[in-house]
Amino acid sequence: MTDTAADRVADSPALSASRGRLIGILIPTAWLLLFFAIPFLFVIKISLSEAAYSVPPVSDFLIWQDGWPVLQATWANFALILDDPLYLQALLGSLRIAAISTLLTLLIGYPMAYAIARAEPGMRTPLLLLVILPFWTSFLIRVYAWSTLLQDQGMINSALMWLGVIDDPMRMLNTEFAVQLGIVYSYLPFMILPLYATLERLDGSLLEAAADLGARPATTFWRVTLPLSLPGVAAGCLLVFIPAAGEFVIPELLGGPDTLMIGKVMWQEFFNNRDWPVASALATILLLLLIVPILLLDRTQSRAEQG
């Protein structure tokens, strides 16, 4: 007999099922803890360190003095950020641009999601595929495409001048408008998908009942459809707002020097100025601002699953 007791125990279906459960939870948990959660602690550590001319360009966080460890933590980086109007402007600017873009995405995405949800059942999957397809092609290249479209000699200006709407090219590239356009364009699928999911589940008999009771279509929309789709609205808005607030590629390629967004400022601090502590402090502040929206998103998703 080569069978050990452990082998026989493992053979019992119930036990090996619970072992399978454990593996199913432990592997992803370990990976995400190590490579997603714990790294934030190092960012916080660096944000409390001093910059130095060394590799890496940060002074030691913990030094030994007379055999005792001494913590070299400093609030200087945070104080610098809160003192400098440039950083504050970038922080507020990011939140403002992200909020406006989210609202615009909702205004464009809602009718689209509604139209797909009310299309013939056989048409819904192909239409959804059309929404998702651009998302599968390089994001960087799609943003770059807008930069060529929005140029002074680009297609939009040429078309408007040819139509006689304008006489001189409008400055569109390198403005905040271009950044908002880029965000709306890039994140539109993230708005449409959760909206579609709630609108598609909407009970059609409720709409019929409202119509039978004499409600006009507009009233039915405001009093029945919209309130029932609010979970989708919340999920879509959060899915757009949170990543947009820290966007780097879009303000870099479409924004101007005066379009301050925190993601871009952080990138410049890190790569151009090699100021790791300030970049880390900016990341920490952005993370703190986004924790509540992230928890809200997690909440809306678990609730959507339950009911």
């Binding site: 090996s16 593996i23 199913g24 939870i25 990976w31 995400l32 190092f42 990543p243 952080m266 992230i294």
Partner: protein, 283 residues
């Protein structure tokens, strides 16, 4: 029907908005002129230039390798996570588990990239691994955020599975591993496949996170495109974009077709099984 036509108008205007830049890119990839504003006649010279550029070819091969490896590992980790979230009911730490899977979906890339770099540097100091930054660190970073996307896909797929089949197999005495291999995995295959494709494209697309965690010698395709785009208009990027669009569109159509076929076959098998059962009941 007035409202219906208003909605239809919105939908097609939205599609025009989504596809206009892509169509313009494709058309201009065949423009003989170097200037975007000038149409110099049809030409395929930018494609020739692309294939003669060793930098582009090197970066493309680097990106494809990173995407293939990270997508494969992400499917395992994200698949387990999605299955656990959908099937294991309440377990200790479930809220934290689900938050850790939701957060990477929306976390600004600058934060993810910076924090992973800080981790890698700290780990190198503490345990000597990973030694330096390069392909390995980019792969680890891509696995992490792609796994979260795979988990979403698999989670919704598992929720739609008929549990009765697995229970029936268990009742017939199949061991959990056999049930997993013979019943659960085949039924999950379409979800795992689309999860893999999603992870693959996400990895192929990532500029920001890779820029933070990469090292000398590991330049990915988005990093190369970004440096070209920042220098000004380069028409060979249009050609590259057109190729990416062509590959992705055919990949999506192909996987859609495979999934449709798998679903039909599955439905046929279930119907056949019920017919057999009915015949046995009749005996």
């Amino acid at each position: 029907m007035r409202r219906g036509s208003f909605l239809t108008l919105c939908l097609w205007a939205g599609f025009a908005f989504l596809y206009l830049p892509i169509i313009v890119l494709i058309v201009y990839s065949f423009n003989a002129s170097r200037l975007v504003a000038v149409w110099g006649g049809w030409s395929v010279k930018w494609y020739g230039e692309l294939f003669r550029d060793p930098q582009v070819l090197g970066a493309a091969s680097m990106s494809l390798q990173i995407a293939a490896i990270s997508a494969t590992v992400a499917v395992v980790i994200g698949g387990l996570a999605g299955y656990a979230l959908s099937r294991f009911g309440r377990f200790r730490g479930r809220t934290g588990f689900s938050t850790m899977l939701t957060a990477p979906l929306v976390m600004p890339e600058v934060i993810t990239g910076l924090s992973l770099l800080m981790l890698f540097i700290a780990m190198e100091g503490l345990v000597g691994w990973p030694a330096g930054r390069g392909m390995t660190t980019v792969i680890i970073a891509h696995i992490t955020f792609a796994a979260a996307y795979v988990a979403v896909v698999v989670r919704s797929r598992v929720a739609g599975l008929d549990r009765a089949l697995e229970e029936a197999a268990m009742d017939l005495g199949a061991r959990p591993l056999t049930v997993l291999r013979r019943i659960t995995l085949p039924m999950l295959m379409p979800g795992l496949l689309s999860g893999w494709l999603l992870a693959f494209t996400l990895s192929l697309d990532d500029l920001v996170i890779a820029s933070f965690v990469t090292g000398p010698g590991a330049t990915t395709l988005p990093m190369l495109i970004f440096s070209k785009v920042r220098l000004g208009v380069s028409p060979d990027i249009n050609a590259l974009a057109t190729l990416i669009v062509a590959v992705v569109a055919s990949g999506v159509l192909l996987s859609g077709w495979i999934m449709l076929r798998a679903e039909r076959r599955h439905a046929r098998q279930v119907r056949a099984a019920f017919r057999r059962e009915g015949a046995m009941d009749g005996n």
